[in-house]
């Protein structure tokens, strides 16, 4: 307690001294120094995004801004030299405000960048998934990171951040050309879900005691013609190799077209 009083006496003393001898000129110089320091720190904050500081960037930025904050409060707002009651009022409530900010954020479970799950979720919602998310004359396209922050381009490859995509207007010729591979793309998903167990990722089928699938890359197989193959998929087939289950009740006619388009573009010998 006595310490506090002493300190206050001291500051009061220096304070009064300052008032009497041309304090405004000396202090103008001092304030100019503070202002220049603030400007330099702001410049550093802006520039340091390019310095490849990795995980130190965020703490660095926050430390610098706390420094700026403190300098303005202490010198520009004079709190350092002012009465104890102002310090207690302001710093006390400021501390409380900071605590409340963290409590609110913790309560809502989303401290900045603390939640990769919702982060991904929001990115996937924000990005278009495919053309069905876009207007009739638009297509879903990946978009590059913004040009304004060179740091972002450097620090975050597309692999690190979700690829951002959005709907853009696309001319008709391009849309038509793209429309052609749409069935194959959708068929790929069906293949991965239904057929891959027997026919395998590489389409080579599988020879084994229990599960068997035809080699979808064989020229012989494709020699039968698309119609015959489609028929085998719809109705199933019992042949030399084994049993191909009928897909009629499982996949819609369109889905069968799509999956056929997929295996054709992916596995059929060219």
């Amino acid at each position: 307690m006595s310490e506090v009083i002493n300190e206050q006496d001291k500051t009061d003393a220096t304070h009064h001294e300052g008032e009497h001898d041309g304090h405004s000129h000396a202090s103008t110089l001092f304030y100019t120094g503070v202002a220049i320091a603030l400007a330099i720190v702001t410049y550093i904050e802006w520039a340091m995004l390019d310095w490849d500081l990795g995980k130190w960037t965020k703490p660095g930025l926050i430390i610098l801004s706390v420094g700026k904050f403190a300098a303005v409060v202490a010198y520009f707002m004079h709190l350092k030299f002012d009465a104890e009651i102002f310090k207690r009022t302001f710093l006390g409530v400021l501390g409380l405000a900071v605590v409340i900010v963290f409590v609110v954020m913790a309560a809502l479970g989303s401290l900045p960048d603390d939640n990769p799950e919702t982060g991904r979720l929001h990115a996937s919602i924000r990005n278009c998934q495919d053309h069905s998310d876009c207007g009739p004359t638009q297509r879903c396209r990946p978009i590059p990171a913004p040009k304004t922050a060179a740091a972002l381009r450097k620090a975050k490859g597309l692999g690190e951040r979700p690829v951002f995509s959005k709907c853009v207007e696309v001319p008709k010729e391009v849309r038509d050309a793209e429309g052609k591979d749409k069935p194959a793309r959708e068929g790929g998903e069906i293949y991965a879900a239904v057929c891959v167990a027997c026919h395998q990722k590489d389409g080579g089928g599988m020879l084994g005691p229990t599960v068997l699938g035809a080699n979808l890359a064989s020229a012989e197989l494709w020699a039968q013609g698309d119609g015959a193959l489609r028929n085998s998929i719809v109705n199933g087939k019992q042949g030399k190799i084994g049993v191909m289950p009928a897909q009629a009740g499982i996949l819609s006619s369109e889905e069968i077209d799509n999956v056929l388009a997929y295996i054709k573009t992916t596995y059929a010998p060219k």
């Binding site: 503070v34 303005v72 102002f86 900010v101 929001h122 919602i125």
Partner: protein
């Protein structure tokens, strides 16, 4: 802080058992409550930001850091000019006080100009108050800050106008000082927003 203590009659510092000007205590108390106000807006911004449920632009697609850094310099500079105004008022230099008050208000206007430009750009690119949680919380936070700057500009200009009527004499140094406290507060709020809303968004 300044020479007003030496003045023979000063209704602004008189009559307080605390030994400090009551008006300053009022303003420090008000500014403390403003910490709570902006604190809750910031907490809301950070809580809502990761939970976007509607497709809307992302912060990194919107923010133009170069532009915002320049406007940050402008606001910092205005704070420095405010210091000069407060010092001039404490010295009883009416001419200089008037000049620096106007200069501070002018820099404040430039800052608001940047913000108006930024908001217009964002709206044109699809980020609006209704576009989603980012838009709502961003515009509420920075909009309220801009609103505070506007109030400050009006206050500064009012003092500037009153200075011509002779109302802003040396006995009103405290009035200028209190206006300065408010102006610097608006500056520190921006220091926080600039770093944790804008810059950190681009940090790895």
């Amino acid at each position: 802080m300044s020479a007003h203590g030496d003045l023979p009659i000063n209704h602004q510092t008189e009559g307080t058992s605390l030994g400090v000007p009551t008006i300053k205590l009022t303003w420090w108390t008000f500014l403390s409550s403003e910490c709570m106000f902006f604190g809750s807006l910031l907490a809301t911004y950070f809580s809502l930001k990761p939970n976007r449920v509607t497709p809307e632009p992302l912060p990194i697609e919107m923010f133009d850091l170069d532009l915002t850094t320049i406007s940050t310099f402008v606001l910092l500079a205005s704070s420095f000019l405010m210091v000069l105004a407060v010092n001039a008022a404490a010295d009883g230099n009416a001419k200089k006080t008037r000049l620096w008050l106007l200069a501070t208000a002018f820099f404040g206007c430039i800052f608001i100009g940047f913000q108006a430009y930024e908001f217009t750009e964002f709206y044109a690119k699809g980020l609006t108050l209704e576009s989603g949680t980012f838009g709502s919380s961003f515009f509420t936070l920075t909009g309220f800050h801009g609103f505070h700057v506007c109030i400050g500009i009006v206050w500064l200009l009012a003092l500037w106008v009153l200075s011509f009527t002779g109302w802003l004499g040396p006995e009103r140094a405290l009035t200028v000082e209190v206006c300065g406290l408010y102006w610097h507060f608006v500056d520190i709020v921006w220091i926080v927003i600039f770093t944790i809303v804008y810059l950190v968004e681009f940090a790895p």
